[in-house]
Amino acid sequence: MLQIDNLQAEVVGKPILKGLSLTVNAGEIHAIMGPNGAGKSTTGYVLGGRPGYEVTGGSVSFDGQDLLAMAPHERAAAGLFLGFQYPVEIPGVSNVQFLREALNAQRRARGVEPLSGGEFLKLAREKAGLLRMDMDMLKRPVNVGFSGGEKKRAEMVQMGILDPKLAILDETDSGLDIDALRICGEGINAIMRRPDKAVILITHYQRLLDYVKPDKVHVLAGGRIVRSGGPELAHELEREGYEAVA
C-alpha cells in the first residue's frame, strides 16, 4: 500500500529525514518509535504534504501513485489520513460543517455522490458513538475549547467519518488519560483493523500498543529506520531505552 524509499527531507534548510525506507502492506499496523528529534513528526508531515517540509530526495508510492506529487487534499481523497499530535483549532467552523464539506470534497474527487445532510449526520452519530463523544461536541467549532483528550478523540471521530485506507497517527496517545487511551485504542481497532486498511502509529511509548497491537515495530533515529522487529521490540525499547536498542 505504502512504499517509502530512501526519503530525505528538510525543514528550513535543516535535514531531518536522511534516507528513510519503509514498506507498509494492506492489513498491517506499524509502529514507529524513537527518541525526541528523530524525525517522527516530520515523517507524518512530509507524508501529509505540509508546506515547509521540503523533500530533497527519495520517493513515496501510495497505492501505486506518486504521493509526493499530490497536494494535501488530493492525498486525503486518495485515502490518506494524518492524525495530528496537536490538532488545530478552527474558530467559527463547526466540526459537522467542516467534516461534511471535507467528506463530500473527497467523494467528489473520487466520483462518488456527495452525502446529504441527513445521511452525513447519521454517519457522524455512529462514529461519535464509537469514540463515546457527545454529538453536541461535534456541533461546536473544530477543537476550540476541547481538552487535550477530547481533541484526540475528535481526531479519531474524523478518521471514522472520512474512512481512510491508510492512517498515520502522530502521537495520538499523548495527552490521554488511561480511559481515553483505551477508548482511542478501541476506536483505532474498530475503524482501521481491516484487511484493506493500514495504520502507522507514531509514538514514544509502549502503552498505546497494549491496545493497538502492531504487526511491526520500527525504531527511527537520526532520520532513518535503524531497527525493525515484531511487537517484542517495543517491550525491549520500553525496558532498555532507545540508546541501548538503537
Partner: protein, 245 residues
C-alpha cells in the same frame, strides 16, 4: 435631515484620512440620517449599502434603557463608507457588527463615534474585514465616556485579514474617558490566514480554495453573531467572499 457640512472634507479631517475623496465627491454631501429611540425602545437595523460609490451617515440617539442592534455588510463598492454616531442614555445598549469585504482597488470604511452620555450603558462593536488585491479597509472608532457615565461597558473588537501583501487595513480604536468605574476594552489585529489551520483543513480533503473560504466565512460571521438576520447576513457575506476568491 441635515447636511454634514457643505464643504468636501480633506485628508486633514481625521475621520476622512483614509477616504477615497474622489469617490466621496460624487456622493457629497452625505445626508445625516437621524434615528432616535425613546426610553426602553428597541430596534434592529441591517445595512447592506449598494452602489459603486456609497456613503451613509447615521446619527442614533438612544434614550434610557433603549437598545439598538446594527449590522453592516460593506462589500462590493469601489468606495463604501458607513459613518455612525451614537449617543447612549442611561442603561442603553448599542451593538454594531460590521463586515467589510473588498478586493481590487476598493476602499471601504466604517467610522464610528460612540458617546456614553448616561451611566450603565453598554456598547459592543465587532468589525471584521477581509481584503485582497490593493483594497483598503478602514475602521476608525471612538468611544467617549462622558463625565458621570459611571458603570459604562464599552468594547471594540477589530480584526482584518489580508489575503495579499498589497492590501491595506487601517484600524484606529480610540477611548476618551471622563468617568470612573468604567470598563472599556479594545482589541485590534491585522493578520493573514492561519497557515496551520489551512493545512489542517486541506489534510482532511478540502481543496485550498474551499479551506480558505471556510475559514474566512467563519471570520466574517463573528460580526453577525446574535443578529436576528444572522443567517441571511452570513449568506450575503459568503456571496461577497466568493466574488473575491
Amino acid at each position: 435631515m441635515s447636511l454634514a457640512g457643505a464643504l468636501l472634507p480633506s485628508r486633514k479631517d481625521e475621520d476622512f484620512r483614509y477616504a477615497d475623496l474622489g469617490a466621496l465627491a460624487r456622493v457629497w454631501p452625505v445626508p445625516v440620517e437621524e434615528i432616535a429611540l425613546g426610553p426602553g425602545e428597541s430596534r434592529a437595523l441591517v445595512l447592506v449599502p449598494e452602489g459603486d460609490a456609497v456613503a451613509r451617515h447615521l446619527a442614533i440617539t438612544l434614550g434610557p434603557g433603549a437598545r439598538f442592534d446594527l449590522r453592516v455588510l460593506n462589500a462590493g463598492h469601489a468606495y463604501g463608507r458607513v459613518a455612525i454616531d451614537v449617543r447612549l442614555g442611561q442603561g442603553a445598549d448599542f451593538t454594531c457588527g460590521a463586515a467589510q469585504v473588498g478586493g481590487g482597488k476598493q476602499v471601504l470604511e466604517v467610522v464610528t463615534n460612540v458617546v456614553h452620555a448616561g451611566s450603565d450603558a453598554t456598547s459592543r462593536q465587532v468589525v471584521r474585514s477581509v481584503l485582497s488585491g490593493q483594497a483598503t479597509g478602514t475602521y476608525l472608532g471612538k468611544v467617549t465616556v462622558e463625565r458621570g457615565a459611571d458603570g459604562t461597558d464599552g468594547e471594540q473588537s477589530v480584526r482584518a485579514m489580508l489575503l495579499d501583501r498589497t492590501a491595506t487595513a487601517n484600524a484606529r480604536p480610540e477611548l476618551e474617558i471622563y468617568a470612573d468605574d468604567v470598563k472599556c476594552a479594545h482589541g485590534c489585529a491585522v493578520g493573514e490566514l492561519d497557515a496551520q489551520g489551512l493545512f489542517y483543513l486541506q489534510s482532511r480533503g478540502l481543496p485550498p480554495a474551499e479551506a480558505k473560504r471556510l475559514m474566512l466565512q467563519a471570520f466574517l460571521a463573528e460580526a453577525f453573531v446574535g443578529a436576528d438576520a444572522e443567517e441571511q447576513l452570513n449568506q450575503a457575506a459568503l456571496a461577497a467572499l466568493e466574488a473575491l476568491l
